[in-house]
């Protein structure tokens, strides 16, 4: 998108910003976003929705972040984010909120793309979202849907999940924006339960598997 496209907001009560810190791994991105959620909560700003998005530059891909907060004043939101976000090592961060931009052009463009995908709910993954703190242990699909902002639970190579099925959250729930909805991809797990598609500790390459 062009550098000055207006980023649509998802509702009248929130704003969506994009930030590009040149993050290279999802665990790193999740850590940044969960820390941001803690700092926002300390300021009384609750229930943000914070996402990770693929960002493509000419020399490869990395991860950009999207930040949806329940603030309607863009001036206030902009100042808050400039205040709270960590300063990366190598380059200044790219930031985008509506028509406000800061940082290098390539990075505020990828930040704007992340915000636009989040706002349009067409791509990316939510690392933090309303209700995530309650999604622990084993819960029914119904309770997950009613207790969080996740709108659908979709079974890999299957269809929608039965609301009464038990989902083993493994205390790690990462829904994705797919075709306008916040969707949790799940798959069959042991003993007729479901488990989220994304595991908290995927096997790395050349791991010392047994230890």
């Amino acid at each position: 998108m062009s550098p000055f496209t207006q980023t649509p907001a998802t509702s009248n009560s929130t704003l969506v910003a994009g930030v590009d810190l040149l993050t290279m791994t999802e665990p790193d991105a999740d850590a940044v976003l969960h820390e941001l959620a803690r700092e926002l909560a300390a300021l009384g700003i609750l229930d943000p929705t914070l996402g990770t998005h693929r960002a493509q530059l000419t020399d490869g891909a990395h991860i950009a972040l999207s930040i949806e907060i329940p603030i309607t004043d863009p001036v206030q939101a902009w100042a808050l984010l400039q205040e709270l976000l960590p300063a990366p090592q190598h380059r200044p961060p790219g930031m985008s909120l509506g028509n406000r931009r800061s940082g290098p052009t390539d990075l505020h463009s990828s930040a704007a793309s992340a915000a636009a995908d989040h706002a349009a709910r067409r791509g990316g993954r939510a690392a933090y979202f309303p209700g995530i703190d309650h999604l622990t242990g084993a819960i029914t699909v119904r309770d997950l849907l009613t207790g969080s902002s996740i709108e659908q639970v979709s079974v890999l190579a299957g269809g929608d999940a039965d609301p009464d099925t038990i989902l083993q959250t493994r205390d790690f729930v990462r829904p994705r924006w797919i075709a306008g909805h916040l969707v949790l991809p799940v798959q069959p797990g042991p003993d007729g339960t479901l488990v989220p598609f994304e595991v908290p500790n995927p096997t790395p390459c050349c791991a010392d598997h047994a230890r």
């Binding site: 490869g60 891909a61 990395h62 050349c206 010392d208 598997h209 047994a210």
Partner: protein, 582 residues
Amino acid sequence: MEHHDHAHPHDHDDHAGGHIHPHTHSHAPTELEPALDLQVDDSELPPSELGRRNFLRKAGLLGAGLAASSVLSTATAGTAAAAGVTPPAGRPPADPPRGGYRWLTGDHHIHTQFSPDAQYRVIDQVRHANAYGLDWMVITDHGTVQHAKIGVEKVNPDIVLARQAVKDTLVYQGLEWNIPAAEHGTVFVHPGRNEVSVLKQFENSYDGTVKSAGANTPQNEALAIAGLHFLADSIDQRRVQDALMLANHPARKGIDSPHEIRGWRDAEPRIAIGMEGAPGHQAAGIPKPFGPGSGRGYYDNSPDPVASFPGYPLESYRTFGGFDWMTSTVGGLWDSLLAEGKPWWITANSDSHQVWADTSQRGPGSDFTTNGYYNDPVHITAPQLGNGDFWPGYYSRTHVGAKGFSYAAVMDGMRAGRVWVDHGGLLDSLDVRLTAGGHQTSLGGVLTARRGTPVTLQIRINPAQHPNWSQFLPALAKVDVIRGAVTGPVSNKDTFTAPETRVVKTYDVSGQSKVIVLNYNLGRLDDGFYVRLRGSDGKRLAVGLNGATVDPAGPKMDTVGDADPWDDLWFYSNPMWILPSR
């Protein structure tokens, strides 16, 4: 199936794979026809042969596997002796050779104490592989800084000694290549005087870890291609007699994009011949507390926004009946290559690092970083139920139709695509022939015939006659015939679908414990197509990812944390093509 002796005129339309002979006799396949023999220059061909060559070339069907001529000289006795190779006789074949070939069973993906995440000695892996019935195997330790500096040389004397100690299992030296910008791959060479120096130079120049070239960039993708060219040049310069590369666990992390796979194959079809249809680590899904409780094959990843090809669906990160999504999806990535007419073969291997329930661990006092290897393993009392692998030959098998028991013959058979794979000892043998107009071809082959010629598929299966290594007799329940149209080269190199491929026939063979003979009528030839086979114990079936009209009863997605590999067994064959000659 009745076999009739028939005369084989030498001007027929069969290709290099050799026509299929009745079981009453067997001899080596015929020489390559001029049109298929790329050693014969275009200018030397008569017009009829040149027309045929141009047709095959246009269809993308001239190259590896379909022109299996070898540019290689046979190793002199001197070089063979230097590498500890005495031409062995091998174990006596259990069955008479089928279709003129001896089917030799092997595994091209095995680790030793020279890998940072493994532990066994070379001889440990070789003796187990031999005991579990493997005729050939490849030692593939990870490309690492230590391996490039130390291990690649230090492992060789162990391999040479193992070749001498265990004469009826062929032991190749290779390595597990960190393909720049992509996944791992097996690279291995024919034994000889320069096997170490070529592998060492390759690893130091083209390994993604050694060269810090893992990132998903165009420069690194180009480095991978350059590595394949290096291997081809090593053959052309007679430094090694032969070399092959296969992509390992290709969909595990979504980082082998379709265009990279096509790029490797197209750059060096002689070298880059295929991929693991099924990954190793097949014990990794055994549920806790009996096993690791991970994903079968350790396939428990999700898309990496930085490294993964963004077009792959989430399902691609899981296995289906133990097989990789690229292979298990009817009308998926593998079929998209076959529909182009590109030879690209599948294998099944152990990826053996640390064996499930084994009672040993790395030798104490090991310092891999300094030494480049772990000390020899030692016995412990506690069975290691957190290990996710099987010994080579114990579960995963790659069966290669070879012209004899030799290093060169196995590599030639692999390059020709005379390969089928199974899990858990599901089949004793598989004999498949595609027949048209009095001519036949076998796995990996291509036939040409006039439009309107009746085409038939003859399948002869010996189901398992003895309990497998888990002490039960596996029972084949069904056999699927999969057919796809040859639709020609794709313009988008990231294509991973083949909409005109589907299961066209399923045979219920439940309860058939003796020889199974199936004859399937493929109709009269119109446009070109290919066929391949798949079969199962029928324990875990589901509608395929492309719907019931494409695959009504395919392999079910494996459950992460609860996948008993013995309760879900499949075999897959490589494809055969038939094309209209006019």
